[in-house]
Amino acid sequence: MNTQFEPEGQAPPRSGLLLLQGLVWGLFVLFALRLWYLQIHKGDEYAEAALENQMRREAIYAPRGLIRDRNGTLLAVNQPAYALGLVREDCPDVTATLDKVTEWTGYDRLELREKFHKFKRLVKPFEPMILIPDLPFEQLAVIEANALFWPGLEIVVRPRRFYPQGALVSHVLGYVAEANEEELQKISALSMGDDVGKGGLELTMEDRLRGGKGLRQSEVDATGRRLEQIVVERPTAGENMVLSIDLPLQEHCHTLLEGRAGAVVVMDPDTGQLLAFVSQPGFDNNQFVTGLSETQWATLRDDPMHPLQNRVIQSAFPPGSVFKLVVGSAALEMGVDPKETIYCPGHWKLGRRVFRCWKKGGHGRVDFHKGLTQSCDVYFYQLGDRLGVDVMSRYAVAYGFGTRTGIDLPHEKAGLIPTREWKRERFGEPWQGGENLNMAIGQGFNLVTPLQVTRFIAALVNGGKLLKPLLLRDSEPMVQSRLPLSDEHRQMVLDAMVSTVEEGTARRLRRRDATIGGKTGTAQVVRLRASEDEKRRKTEEMPYEERDHAWLASWGTKDNKNYVVVCMVEHGGHGSSAAGPVVRAVYDHLFGKPR
């Protein structure tokens, strides 16, 4: 025998043996008691919790509210779409399954995995996580045939938004798209893969359009078979909406601006309802619903014409001579005699600086009426000098400029009406006398949106009520404020606008069968240097970005039907020649072609 072995006879430690015995008994007693507590004492409670786990709840999708134009034509509808969902708990190998999905659909493998991990925590147990919101038919067929071998994958049928008119009303409707993480956190009614309004009325009316999901409950047995289904809660459909937009008119206006950038707005001045709301170029909002590809998005984003820009409310331009309506009416209210004349030699001097009238030869003797009708710059230089920035901006703000109109669309711009304080804050310089003159003819710092101009013209026509611009046909008119303008003075402005059409700068609009009033505007984008001033360039000779913006603000009455039509053509050139034909054609549509 080996001697390295220790001698025998040394007994194992007694305390140790007692310890081991004690531990065995302790283990048994501890866990037996715990098992008794869990399985006997609280068994019924846990059995109920397990039964609760066997209840699977599925959402029943609610149809989103339909949107129609004022004649009942559908503008936004729902179509069935087939989404690919993944029930995590049913999926034995998520990575392999995701890889298989990539193979079927051509989705980026890493993108899909990232999506899965990002949204994992947002999906309740046994709720399908929507991996691909919209499957094309060919892929649907492939997946249907193979899904059997890939437990966890599920085809989910959901309603999807479709806009039959596409780009025609995209700036009004906006669009819906898959909710992002932030929206899912904010709106508890949304679950992953749901669509949510992202722009336009779809965004502002989201709560009314969405509706409420229903709930279907089914019990499953241990093998996962559904035993019975009960509808616990019926879905409630979203609210249907009728817009004030008149689709044929909208389409007409849209076509008139085709190929150019600009806006056309038609408003009923008595109610504030918008009959046409066109911003060109438009974009096909259906692209956003199905998800934009990288290249589609790049095309939209980098388009020099900026199709996503809503020019009716999101672009603020210098108003040009349209602003003379503001300054002129303010002057009347400040006590300027409309009969008083001044002489226009074609320019006006302030100190050493010379301010030119658009008409080189001058207008001769000009009173209020002629000043507006002929859009004489010198007459308004003189008014601007007398009124000063404080009065002009006070009236401009009272007329609704420099603040949002409150239309039910997101991201509206307020524009800008300058004041002394603003100038000091912005540039650290005091207001200059010459800037009064620029402001009076609508140049300088003033920025207005086409919708603000529309609302102002409507107020001139409807007796001085500044109305909230409305997009829904059944909304009641909402008077926001009244113009600080007497009926007498208001009538003088309207008369001058009629004369502008009869014999002034807006002659293109003249027609015998209707009363039309208008005011043109040509807003300079680049200030002319003195040398260039002499030889004014023709619009066609200028590069696109330096061309003037063309304005035409108008109203028309025939057989008790009143309309306000405002057109703005971005870099269009002269107000009368660029915007005139558009507005003319709009009246042709509204009143019929004159015989």
């Binding site: 080996n2 390295q4 072995f5 220790e6 025998e8 040394q10 007994a11 194992p12 430690p13 305390s15 140790g16 043996l17 310890l19 081991l20 015995q21 531990l23 065995v24 008994w25 283990l27 048994f28 501890l30 866990f31 037996a32 715990r34 098992l35 008794w36 869990l38 399985q39 006997i40 609280k42 068994g43 019924d44 409670e45 846990y46 059995a47 919790a49 397990a50 039964l51 786990n53 066997q54 708990e89 049913d90 034995p92 925590r121 309740k124 147990p125 899904a147 059997l148 437990p151 499953v220 047995d221 241990a222 093998t223 996962g224 078979r225």
Partner: protein
């Protein structure tokens, strides 16, 4: 030297073998149910139970191997094995491969293995060798000596980082130290000191996710869909089994996949759900009888080295059973320690059976030197 003496074969502890095999087959049966998988309109079973069975067969070979040689030869191997382990552990940060953010594996070409598994066996041998010397209860100095030896591999493992394995090594060593016995005054001081050290461990040893597990254990309702989910669903599974259970393959909690890790760490919850209180108590009793048989081996061993070896194996299983079942029954925080024979795991099964072989070795040679 005769390897297999007839006398020795006569003393084979058939009770322990029977209990071991019984536990193993209960585990395979339970795994069959736990790896059941629902397909559209039917069920399929993932082949975990087959793999477990094959590992078990390999383990049985290992068990026989660990029975044939005289266990006292292991005494000379204790120190070389210890230093080999330490060397391998030192190599891990250099050559190891990273899995889930921790370097624990050494790639040996054909297969990779965790030196931390080897460390458990090495500590078992060292503890038995060092602590079986002398009869006196341990005073401060020898206690610190033994602890220092244990801290070398344990510290290296914790640094990998693998807190679970590091602590198992220390727990195993601690168990054997308690078996040997500590001076009463030393023991009294430790009772005060160890809890006082807890806050230090909280701030310096634990990772955020580990702290989170402890917080969740103390208050699982705080995050019922996140970290508390495992704890709650596991208790629902066991509790809903009630007295008689839901029947084999009929546990809704496990078959519908509310149970996490149901074929590994939470496998015993599947058993509890399907076999109820009666089945669970029987399984618990089997485990206790199994431990009791190991205790008997320690008690009847011919020498103190053998006794301490058996005691080490006792603690090796005891801690795993305590921690795993404690976790599943909601008495302890979630720690990734499997339940011997019940949880799926290839190398664990082999090691478990080999250690049982060691105990059988000690037990069957208990009369070899008995004076007639």
């Amino acid at each position: 030297m005769t390897l297999i003496d007839r006398r020795i074969v006569q003393h084979i502890n058939w009770g322990l073998i029977g209990l071991t095999l019984l536990l193993f087959f209960v585990g395979v049966l339970n795994l069959y149910s736990a790896s059941g998988f629902r397909l559209e309109g039917g069920q399929a079973v993932q082949p975990y139970y087959q793999k477990q069975f094959i590992w078990g067969m390999m383990g049985l070979c290992g068990m026989v191997f660990f029975m044939i040689f005289d266990y006292r030869h292991l005494k000379v191997m204790a120190w070389p094995l210890f230093w080999l382990t330490v060397t391998l552990l030192l190599l891990v940060p250099v050559f190891g491969k990273t899995v889930y953010g921790a370097r624990r594996w050494l790639d040996l070409g054909l297969f990779s293995f965790q030196p931390s598994e080897l460390a458990k066996i090495a500590i078992l041998l060292i503890a038995a060798k060092v602590l079986s010397k002398g009869q006196k209860q341990l005073d401060w100095v020898p206690l610190f000596g033994v602890m220092a030896i244990g801290m070398i591999p344990a510290g290296l493992i914790i640094l990998q980082p693998d807190l679970g394995s590091g602590l198992s090594v220390l727990l195993l060593l601690g168990g054997v130290i308690l078996y040997r016995g500590i001076e009463l005054r030393v023991f009294k001081s430790l009772v005060v000191l160890v809890p006082a050290m807890m806050p230090l461990a909280w701030f310096f040893l634990l990772h955020d996710y580990q702290k989170q597990r402890i917080i969740t254990f103390l208050n699982p309702g705080k995050d019922p869909l996140g970290a508390g989910y495992h704890i709650i669903q596991s208790q629902i599974a066991i509790g809903s089994g009630k007295l008689w259970g839901k029947g084999f393959m009929a546990g809704t909690q496990s078959q519908l996949r509310f149970l996490p890790e149901k074929h590994t760490d939470f496998a015993v919850a599947v058993f509890g759900e399907e076999w109820g209180f009666v089945g669970s108590i029987i399984l618990l009793a089997l485990f206790c009888m199994f431990l009791y048989h190991i205790f008997l081996a320690a008690q009847d061993a011919k020498d103190r080295f053998g006794s301490f070896l058996a005691a080490g194996v006792f603690f090796y299983f005891f801690w795993q059973i305590l921690i795993n079942m404690g976790m599943v029954l909601g008495l302890m925080p979630v720690v990734g320690i499997p339940l011997p024979f019940i949880s799926y795991g290839g190398s664990a099964t082999v090691v478990n059976l080999c250690l049982i072989g060691l105990v059988l070795n000690v037990s069957m040679r208990r009369f070899v030197f008995k004076r007639a």
